[in-house]
Amino acid sequence: MSGGREAVLARVRAALGPAPDIPEIPRAYRQAGALGAGGDSVTVDLFCARVADYRATVRRVRGAELPGALTAACEQREARRVAVPAQAPPWTVEGVELVRDEPPLSPRQLDELDGVLSGCALAIAETGTIVLDGAGVSGRRALTLVPDYHLCVVRSADIVPSVPDGVAALARGAAEGRPITFISGPSATVDIELVRVEGVHGPRTLDVFVVESRTSGRE
């Protein structure tokens, strides 16, 4: 339908006229960096509060406490077989079989698992958002989508203050063509009487583990 291309572009040009006025974009809002680099206690506190607002569970732990926290969470949710990304760090969860996504698990295989344990590319404090970028500890998109229970490990150094901070940090990944997913709380709907109800098609339970760290996983 190459005729469509030329026709649409010609119509757009005709509609705009020979010399359209091109406005400048006023960017007087708080841009990336305006609220600091992130990872500090104020940013981390805000992130934890905002995630909890979505009725996700947040646990703050030191590195050494993470295995215990993961084990307790899986026990509570009765998760025995849990998927992990192909490039997951050596997480250990007692009493739980960690199923590595290598070779890639099919959607049906994922559907039979009790949950998924992943890291993230970064997190945004102001909106309580976890961002996955399809690489490394984030895992493939299907991995963190099909199982009904998502455990996500967030390093405190990876928490940025604002949406502009997050979008700026993701620019390189986007240019490289990585699939990016923003997750803010568990799956939900407001379609019936505008009441937010957790749990439709995505993971219905989201447990977030914020690990105190000084170094960022970001490049």
């Binding site: 119509r11 974009i25 006023p26 809002y29 841009q31 958002t129 620019a171 699939p179 749990g199 098609h201």
Partner: protein, 468 residues
């Protein structure tokens, strides 16, 4: 298309008291939630200014942006198609689906595909389009149409939906009154489709030209399912959804969720760029749709309707929409934005009453995240309808001409005032039924200002008048 027009359709809708209760309750809830979430953002007005600027710039540079988007998507392994109108778009999408032997496709909620009647076009080809958004599913099962941009089944309450599901997808099972159980029924019904159907169709909230990234903003996870699990993904995107730069998302992703559902962020936002090895669909088609958008772009005042990011804040804040609901607008784009978008997309002659579907109170402009001046566009379109489509010999035009003559002369004007005092009441009401049905006529005083001025005792200037 529109046959009855807004006044007749609105009168019919207003008789549905259940609908009025449902829509009234929902819009007042969402107004309060939006206001609270917007109030906590210290730079909200600066974000609105930036949003307006980004969209205006995207429109002014649209040819370059679309070409850049095409190049970026192609470079990342996607295929780009261009559709002049609904028929061409439906043929492209249907052709791709048929080429994969599809008998079913799964769909993410998309206003553009509703606008072009894609589901019916696919059905005519023997392909069933399965809507996966909860509200779209409700409307599909109930053979109903959308009444709201964001929550298309908002005219139904939970009792109605519970009964509908029990009679359809839940096969007679009692779901109880909890909304969670209703949502659970949808999850069970669609799970197998997500895991097995090989072709998905989505819309797009934004298409970023410089990176080639497409963005879908949603809540339930059905969007993630559709853009991730099938082998083939087809995205239908109106050409006005193009954003020049990746960084423009830092503005739009703040404005949209707070304005739409009154959340700091919606549960899921998916951003993908072409095709990615071993992750997601291995074939990606982007269809860029005109279907009247370039006609809107050609109107210098009206083109700002294309800035809309489909948040629906203007619907929720509108005193007209929150009473008549969405169906009276006879379009997939209801409410104030629909009143300016539909007549421009379809041609004014096909929706000539919609620019009057407003009291011009201005609430829509105040809440619009990209500052579309809806009242001004409404007035502009009213003027165009009068100029282009109303006869100079109509009763209204002749009446206005007569009024003009009377108001143009002091003698005529003063005589008319005396006449008005005599003629007011049943006589005028009967003479102007269309006018007086919705307006009270002002009381005319026994003595008006001019008469009082003439009758007052004459005084010298600078005499004993009041001192400041």
């Amino acid at each position: 298309m529109s046959k009855t027009g807004f006044p007749a359709a609105a009168r019919e809708e207003l008789a549905d008291t259940q609908m009025r209760r449902n829509v009234g309750k929902a819009t007042s809830t969402i107004r309060a939630r939006r206001a609270a979430r917007v109030a906590e953002v210290p730079d909200w007005e600066a974000l609105r200014d930036a949003g307006a600027g980004i969209k205006a710039r995207a429109m002014a540079t649209m040819p370059e942006q679309l070409e850049m988007l095409e190049a970026s998507v192609t470079r990342a392994g996607g295929q780009v198609h261009w559709a002049r109108d609904a028929a061409e778009c439906n043929a492209i999408v249907g052709g791709i689906a048929a080429g994969h032997g599809a008998t079913e496709v799964i769909k993410v909620k998309s206003l553009a595909t509703d606008e072009i009647g894609l589901n019916d076009a696919l059905a005519a080809q023997g392909i069933e389009a399965i809507e996966t958004d909860l509200a779209e599913l409700i409307n599909q099962l109930g053979h109903d149409t959308s009444s709201h941009i964001l929550v298309p089944a908002i005219h139904r309450n939970r009792a109605e939906i519970k009964l509908l599901f029990e009679h359809t997808i839940a096969r007679g099972e009692d779901l109880g009154w909890d909304i969670t159980a209703i949502a659970e029924a949808a999850r069970r019904h669609l799970r197998e489709k997500f895991l097995s159907v090989p072709v998905a169709i989505s819309g797009a909230n934004f298409g970023v030209a410089d990176s080639g990234t497409i963005c879908v903003v949603e809540s339930e996870g059905n969007g993630r399912m559709c853009v991730t699990l099938p082998r083939v993904l087809i995205t239908v995107m109106g050409i006005e959804k193009v954003l020049p730069e990746w960084r423009d998302l830092e503005v739009c992703l703040q404005l949209l969720p707070r304005s739409a559902t009154g959340e700091r962020m919606n549960p899921y936002t998916s951003l993908w760029t072409g095709v990615h090895a071993e992750d997601g669909p291995q074939e990606f088609h982007l269809v860029l749709l005109d279907n009247g958008r370039t006609d809107v772009l050609a109107d210098e005042v009206g083109r700002q309707a294309l800035h809309c990011i489909r948040c629906s804040a203007c619907l929720n804040s509108c005193p007209v929409y929150s009473r008549v609901g969405g169906h009276a607008y006879e379009s997939v784009y209801p409410g104030p934005i629909g009143a300016i978008l539909t007549p421009q997309l379809r041609g004014l002659e096909n929706a000539p009453t919609l620019p009057w579907a407003s009291s011009l109170c201005g609430a829509c402009y105040e809440v619009c995240p990209v500052k579309i001046d809806i009242p001004s566009v409404l007035l502009h379109l009213r003027a165009r309808v009068v100029r282009e489509y109303k006869s100079g010999r109509s009763a209204e035009a002749l009446g206005m001409e007569a009024v003009g003559r009377v108001f143009g002369s002091q003698a005529f004007y003063e005589r008319a005032q005396k006449l008005a005092r005599l003629g007011r009441g049943p006589f005028v009401t009967a003479a102007l039924p269309g006018w007086s049905a919705m307006r009270g006529l002002p009381e005319i005083p026994q003595q008006n200002f001019r008469e009082w001025w003439h009758a007052r005792p004459s005084r010298s200037v600078g005499g004993d008048g009041p001192t400041p």
